[in-house]
């Protein structure tokens, strides 16, 4: 897709707002529609757009395979560790009242941290799946569609 000038320019302009929107949706999930899943998917969509327009190899350099695999596990681990932290402080598993002196503030902190974990895992998994599909040599050439 190197010769599609309009596509490249527009993509370069659009990808930062897409990633920013994903972060906005992630952290404003408490106040409006949004949350971890939506944010993770939008974040992955930004990277997929980059891979589609600029080539899979460039995208693989931006997100190396080892980092991707680590991120996939890190989000889930973060979520589970919040629950363990609650247990270590004497409350039930995943009881966010434990995290702060004030119950409500503890709930806020707990919700933000686990939504972050969810967002990280979902984004990393979607990017990894796309890279796996796109990394195989295609059987149908572009002209045959």
């Amino acid at each position: 897709m190197k010769h599609h000038l309009v596509l490249r320019v527009i993509t370069k302009t659009l990808i930062p707002p897409i990633l920013l929107f994903a972060l906005y949706v992630q952290f404003h999930g408490d106040f409006g529609p949004g949350g971890g899943f939506q944010a993770g998917v939008i974040f992955a969509a930004g990277f997929i757009l980059y891979a589609l327009v600029f080539g899979l190899e460039t995208a693989r350099q931006v997100v190396p395979a080892g980092t991707l695999r680590a991120l996939v596990a890190a989000g889930l681990l973060l979520y589970a560790l919040v629950g363990v932290a609650s247990m270590l402080l004497g409350y039930n598993y995943l009881d966010y009242d434990a995290l702060r002196a004030d119950d409500t503030a503890g709930q806020h902190l707990g919700i933000i941290v686990i939504e972050l974990g969810v967002g990280i895992t979902v984004a990393a998994v979607m990017i990894a799946i796309f890279f796996s599909f796109a990394g195989r040599p295609p059987r149908i050439k572009d002209e045959d569609w």
Binding site: V25, G29, D30, F31, G32, P33, G34, G35, F37, Q38, V41, I42, A44, A45, I48, A65, L68, R69, V72, A73, G75, L76, Y79, A80, G83, Y93, L94, Y96, D103, T104, Q107, H108, G110, I111, I114, E115, G117, V118, T121, V122, A124, V125, M126, A128, I129, F130, F131, S132, F133, A134, G135, R136, P137, P138, R139, I140, D144, W145
Partner: protein, 201 residues
Amino acid sequence: MAAVAICIVRLRHLFAVVMLTGVFSLLSAALLVQLDAVDVAFTEAAVGAGISTVLMLGTLTLTVRRERVPDSMPIAPLAIVFITGGALVYGTFDMPGFGDPNAAPHQHIAPDYIKGSEVDIDVPNIVTSILASYRGFDTLGEVGVVFTAGVGVLLLLSSGGIAGRRHGRDPDEDGKDQSQVGEGEAEEEQSGPGQTGKDKG
């Protein structure tokens, strides 16, 4: 949406089918907004019209473009569909009317969650507060499912991409190793139906 569904049933050019599936997801997202489910509509639009369509197109470049014409009129599936549909319609006569505020699902725990989201958790988005706090364990399981799907796809499709080139030879995967070494050429022409060279483990 019913019209789109019928088109998807009848069409045989798979590219058009995938595109219409994206349209279907987008229309369902619009319908969900009408039904006051904004979070769900957001997720359905992002996931259904975005990721699903991209993955299906990716699959199509790796497989065929057209579906084969079925040989005979499918009587049995039509019969199954009509009988099941009839049974389901019969079942809906007992269900509450559309939008009835006194229906059973709205009585038991939903008012507690709505109140609790304001008083205990102090988070305006009630769906987030239920998802993350009241039903947080389910969300942990869901992230586990996403993780497992990612691991599964990486295991299935990682020929030389994510896992790096393998230098040893696995006895189970003769064809796969050939494709790694000759990446970029036209390979896999030797894998046909009824491969008897494959080890049955």
